[in-house]
């Protein structure tokens, strides 16, 4: 296991803001020094467009970009040619919905769950509008989890794609993706995994899961904003149509409209690449691997269990997911409106998120208009939990913030 005090020293934001208890890691994370340094190093020492292959700087920048791809591949146990860089999880799901929709016909079905984030719902709504496909929802059990027998039952002869978060962003439960892939593949169904909330907090091995696609964002993984990853099994990825056409992805083209594309995965990365994002993400992955994803998962679970044990002692706290498998805690306090409670916590420098967390269809299941979500990252401490719980216990004073 690691020493969290050493970890904290690696994060300039945490060092400079010791008064802030940052518990909004499911929204975005702070960045370690090595990520900031890697980006500065790029801009100070070898910045060039990797497509300008006429001078040695571009060789260096291309090496850095492709090196980052290799790091991502190794991190999730994929091959480099199965890794596409893009702008983030949302772009990844939109790309997959658009591109895979070309293989769908009227009456085909996509299976989601009620716990999905907007970015894994709305792109499919668009496909539904355009292709007259059906969208089905795998029912959640009483606790809010997806059980394998529910998946089996939800599948119809028309189901073509199952798209699910590996860890849901409000309830924080781990979904048995490996089990789901086993079932799905018996029916020739493609499985897409939204890894936004799983990749930063646990070891993910795409070969072991056997998923067909997995997408995630760099900024939730202690890397920069604006960079994301699509993993796709090469044999399927290679059959997809690029959505964005342009420079850096074509082989040649003529005035008659003939064109050829370069190889997968670069054919999906038209335009000047996000070099800074890839380099920063690569540095973040190096950093996380030096700590160990299993250690991170274990530690965040300890924080979670400690927080739950303390929160349960406060009268009036309603926790929606006390058995969550990860560092996400969703709660309310008495009948205080979630947003008022979050503002109250903010007045104690505790940063949490209130609202529907982009999972608007889950709120019916939770029977709540809105909730507050606290989510842990590797630099959070037991002391952070104490400060958070202390502020929460004073929730009744939530209007005081307006009199100061």
């Amino acid at each position: 296991m690691f020493n969290v005090n050493d970890i904290k020293k690696d994060f300039p934001f945490i060092v400079k803001n010791p008064h802030i208890v940052y518990l909004d890691n499911a929204a975005t994370t702070q960045k370690p020094r090595c990520v900031v340094d890697a980006i500065s190093d790029l801009y100070e020492n070898y910045n060039a467009n990797p497509h300008s292959y006429d001078y040695s700087l571009a060789v260096l920048s291309e090496k850095a970009y492709e090196g980052a791809r290799k790091k991502v591949a190794k991190f999730i146990n994929a091959n480099s040619n199965e890794i596409v860089f893009n702008s983030g999880d949302t772009a990844g799901l939109n790309f997959l919905a658009s591109s895979l929709s070309k293989k769908l016909k009227e009456g085909d079905q996509i299976l989601l769950s009620q716990a999905e984030h907007a970015s894994n719902v709305l792109p499919w709504f668009k496909v539904k509008e355009e292709k007259q496909i059906d969208i089905g929802y795998i029912p959640l059990d009483d606790e809010g989890r997806i059980q394998l027998d529910a998946v089996e039952k939800a599948i119809t002869p028309n189901t073509k794609i199952i798209s699910l978060a590996q860890v849901t962003n409000v309830l924080g439960y781990k979904v048995d993706i490996k089990g789901i892939c086993e079932i799905a593949h018996k029916h020739n169904i493609i499985v897409i995994v939204d890894g936004a909330q799983s990749i930063p907090h646990m070891k993910v091995d795409v070969k072991d899961l056997d998923c067909d696609f997995l997408v995630f964002s760099g900024h939730k993984l202690y890397g920069p904003t604006g960079i994301g990853v699509i993993y796709g099994k090469f044999d399927i990825l290679d059959t997809l149509d690029p959505i964005n056409m342009g420079g850096g992805m074509n082989g040649r083209f003529d005035m008659c409209g003939n064109y050829t594309l370069i190889k997968t995965p670069n054919r999906f990365e038209s335009g000047t690449v996000n070099l800074e994002g890839a380099v920063g993400l690569g540095a973040a992955i190096d950093y996380l691997e030096s700590i160990g994803m299993d250690n991170i998962e274990k530690y965040e679970k300890q924080l979670h269990d400690y927080a739950i044990s303390k929160m349960e002692k406060i009268d009036g706290v309603k926790i929606y997911n006390k058995n969550s498998d990860t560092g996400i805690i969703t709660f309310n306090f008495k009948d205080i409106f979630a947003q008022d409670l979050a503002t109250h916590l903010a007045s104690y420098n505790v940063c949490v998120r209130s609202g529907q967390h982009c999972a608007k269809i889950l709120m019916d299941f939770l029977k709540a208009d809105a909730t507050v979500r606290a989510s842990f990252g590797i630099y959070n401490t037991f002391e952070d939990v104490d400060k958070f719980v202390d502020a929460l216990s004073k929730g009744d004073e939530y209007l005081d913030v307006y009199f100061k």
């Binding site: 409106f337 947003q339 903010a346 209130s354 609202g355 208009d369 209007l399 307006y402 009199f403 100061k404």
Partner: protein
């Protein structure tokens, strides 16, 4: 105005309008114009209803429906009481004064704003200014073509 000096008074006015909002309805009233105000960054989701008399240029009634936090709910409730029976010009004057106060962007007439003065400190919570002004922005939109 003395209420500004007494936190307990401010608290009780806000809570009173939050728990027992004035002019709040559970279904769409007939004979009103309406505007849907849902914030892009939070849960606030309200319909503002206006009944306006073009001959006298007067606001006959204001109602609202929806869900939101304490600040948004209480501010719309107080706003409805402030604006009923006001002419268009009077209403705009109140709205402008209120926005100056809520956004801390200019001077305002305390007396004109009556109970709405309880939100004089809301600007210190920058993320909540949207909540405190959501109703005023809605009614302004409805009134501007009158």
């Amino acid at each position: 105005m003395s209420i500004l000096n007494d936190p307990n008074m401010i608290r009780s006015i806000i809570m009173d309008h939050y728990q027992y909002p004035r002019n709040k309805v559970d279904s769409e009233p007939k004979g009103y114009e309406s505007i849907h105000m849902d914030s892009d960054s939070c849960v606030d989701d309200f319909y503002i209803y206006l009944k306006y008399d073009n001959t006298s240029n007067k606001i006959i009634d204001v109602k609202f429906m929806g869900t939101g936090c304490t600040i948004s709910t209480a501010s719309i409730s107080i706003m409805s009481e402030l604006l009923i029976n006001k002419t268009k010009d009077e209403a705009f004057n109140i709205i402008n004064n209120y926005k100056n106060m809520a956004m801390h962007e200019g001077s305002y007439d305390e007396e004109l704003l009556e109970e709405a003065n309880v939100f004089s400190n809301v600007y210190k919570q920058a993320n909540r200014i949207k909540c405190a002004t959501i109703g005023y922005n809605g009614i302004e939109e409805l009134l501007k073509d009158k």
